[in-house]
């Protein structure tokens, strides 16, 4: 199911957060949204799942404007793993995952055996089945992300939105989560900070800066040194990953500010260490 943004702009409190962004995510591909903090990645994603109304432009899923579809219809097409996870009341992991069934059910009735089986399967897939009867609030950050991912799987949608899914996760689980999310043939849109994760898991990346689309295409085509410098204000070199052989982006601070002698020595030392390791 393809997703397209057509000249989408968002203005909040007189400030243009997203400016005239047009891009298409073909069905079954993974798009990585890259850009510095506050560049409008999350806001752009929010227009897709109807949490933010665009000031102008149209967001379509499978050709239909998401604003003209009902909330429920959109929730049957798009599942979201958002950054927020407020937790004031005791909810078990099973109940949290069961929320993924909300768009598919009506009325007061109990959950069907099929629903429960779906949840058991999803929790097993994300490696959280041992947490099923635990309380969500008592889980570690990584365990919570597993459960939230399971909820999106339970929602059984063709489109998956991940808003910085790898925040606060250890490196191994960052890789595990990205492959779990991208290996199911779904259309995935994910906001990311790590260019190398994007290079590894995304067919396309979109680079946003101050709400404007600066680049769109294959990761290694978009992530040129001059583009990274303009987008993130950092220097970078393209290397070859010694293990996977894929392109690897190494970043460094651009024109370091003059530092005190002591700091300078420290920086020199660190640079040397990095070189030795490389």
């Amino acid at each position: 199911m393809n997703v397209s943004f057509d000249k989408v702009s968002v203005t909040l409190g007189g400030q243009r957060i997203v400016n005239n962004v047009s891009l298409t995510v073909p069905s079954g591909t993974v798009l990585g949204l890259l850009g510095p903090n506050g560049c409008g990645k999350s806001t752009l994603l929010r227009t897709l799942y109807r949490a933010q109304k665009p000031s102008s432009g149209v967001v379509r899923v499978d050709g239909d404007d998401v604003r003209s579809l009902g909330g429920r219809d959109v929730a049957r097409r798009i599942a979201v793993m958002a950054q927020e996870s407020t937790q004031e009341f005791p909810i078990t992991v099973r109940e949290m995952a069961m929320l993924g069934r909300v768009p598919h059910q009506r009325g007061f009735g109990a959950d069907s055996t099929a629903d429960h089986e779906l949840i058991d399967t999803a929790l097993r897939e994300v490696g959280a089945v041992h947490l099923t009867e635990r309380y969500f609030a008592g889980l570690s950050g990584g365990e919570k992300q597993r459960v939230l991912l399971a909820r999106t799987l339970v929602q059984q949608t063709p489109v998956l939105v991940l808003d910085e899914p790898t925040n606060h996760l250890d490196i191994a689980f960052q890789l595990e989560l990205m492959s779990l999310a991208t290996s199911r043939g779904l259309t995935v849109l994910t906001a990311l900070h790590d260019m190398n994760l994007a290079g590894e898991y995304c067919q396309n990346v979109a680079l946003l800066q101050a709400g404007e689309l600066q680049g769109f295409g294959r990761p290694h085509e978009v992530l040129e040194e001059n583009v990274i410098r303009a987008g993130f204000g950092v220097d970078s070199r393209r290397l070859e990953h010694p293990i996977t052989g894929r392109p690897l982006v190494a970043v460094a601070r651009l024109d370091p500010q003059p530092a005190s002698a002591a700091q300078q020595q420290h920086i020199n030392h660190e640079t040397k260490t990095v070189k030795e390791h490389a």
Binding site: A82, L99, H130, G142
Partner: protein, 372 residues
């Protein structure tokens, strides 16, 4: 830093292994429902047979069933005196039912409000609605027992509550959206203002009125009659039905606005409807019974500790539990200090607080994350 296991620990457990836990919850829930229903029947009988005029449990049962089922022999054969019939059917039953409806309404209002503003400390009175009812009632009492602008005590209290609802709604709204924190702050501030007005009216009125004012503010169902049951009953039935039908959406709201929207819930309109429903329940109850505190805060928490936060499980128990709790409280209110009656608000706190604290310290509560 993060201690999450990176390899999938142990073998995936078979589905069957999870079933017992689910079945246990189901039993717990059915058991709790049956227990509460039985409790309500028992308390109705106890309550209608208790009073200055001696009536046995079976006589009370006979009188109540005799009024519902036509042609029962004991209604005509003289075994039940007219005054017994009068006491049970016209005085004790309506007040017990009113206590039940009020308890259920306040507990339901509390549960919905806690979910609506996603704050476990919320309770119906935090909206300032009861303070509005207080102003209306005190105005009615102070300006003479007859009426304010042609309104009786209950009607004046309802108008006050409705006025406070409109005010808090307008104050909490910004750009068509009601933010939970703004709602709480507006409610608390408005409540304080209205309480100040009530206190001023109370302190400046003649001494003989102060007792009536206090009696209303602390809550009572002693003057109940059948017509008084109608409005609160309709409000309870309507809001209860709405809440149960929307219980999945309520569950989604517990996880946060963003998540709820992504799950297809129209959070803005849901929040508005819930706020009005809560205010309606509170206003109809407070107008008739006065300020009965604590029920709306404690009953939802107690139920969550027993069956969890899923609204499909907790809402029926909240309604039944609130009803039973206030019925028992009313029975105590008119027996412990006979012949005097203790205002309900005093007893709900005196009975409810120790029970709640005990529940809070128990292991079930710790598992439910109350320790956090």
């Amino acid at each position: 830093m993060n201690a999450s296991p990176r390899t999938i620990p142990t073998l995936p457990r078979p589905v069957v292994a999870l079933a017992p836990a689910r079945r246990a919850t189901l039993w717990r829930r059915c058991g709790a429902t049956a227990l509460l229903c039985a409790g309500i029947v028992v308390v109705i009988l106890l309550s209608t047979s208790t009073g200055p005029l001696a009536t046995s449990l079976s006589d009370a049962a006979k009188i109540i069933s005799g009024h519902f089922l036509p042609g029962m022999v004991w209604m005509q054969d003289g075994t039940i005196s007219v005054s017994q019939d009068q006491a049970v059917w016209n005085f004790r039953l309506p007040r017990t039912l009113l206590a039940g409806i009020a308890g259920a309404s306040l507990a339901l209002a509390g549960a919905l409000l806690q979910t609506n503003v996603r704050n476990p400390l919320a309770e119906p009175y935090i909206l300032g609605v009861s303070a509005g009812a207080g102003v209306g009632a005190v105005l009615a009492i102070v300006s003479g027992s007859t009426a304010v602008a042609g309104l009786g005590l209950n009607a004046a209290a309802f108008v006050g509550a409705a006025g406070a609802t409109v005010l808090v709604y307008l104050l909490a709204r910004q750009g068509g959206v009601i933010a939970p924190s703004r709602l709480i702050l507006a409610g608390v501030a408005l409540g304080s203002l209205l309480a100040a007005i009530t206190n001023f009216l109370t302190i400046t009125t003649e001494a003989q009125n102060v007792y009536s004012v206090l009696f209303f503010l602390l809550g009572s169902v002693s003057a109940a009659s059948y017509p008084q049951l109608i409005l609160p009953g309709i409000a309870l039935a309507g809001v209860g039905l709405y809440a149960m039908l929307r219980s999945r959406a309520l569950n989604a709201m517990l996880a946060g606005d963003e998540t709820a929207i992504a799950l297809g819930v129209n959070v803005t309109s849901m929040r508005r409807t819930l706020l009005l429903a809560t205010a309606l329940l509170t206003a109809t109850t407070v107008a008739v019974c006065g300020g009965i505190g604590f029920v709306g805060l404690v009953v939802p928490h107690a139920v969550r500790m027993i069956v969890g936060s899923d609204h499909r499980r907790m809402l029926p128990l909240v309604i039944l539990g609130g009803a039973l709790f206030l019925m028992i409280t009313d029975l105590l209110a008119r027996t412990v200090a006979q012949p005097a009656e203790i205002p309900l608000g005093i007893l709900t706190a005196a009975v409810g607080a120790p029970f709640f604290l005990w529940l809070m310290r128990s292991s079930g509560a710790r598992a439910a994350g109350v320790d956090r």
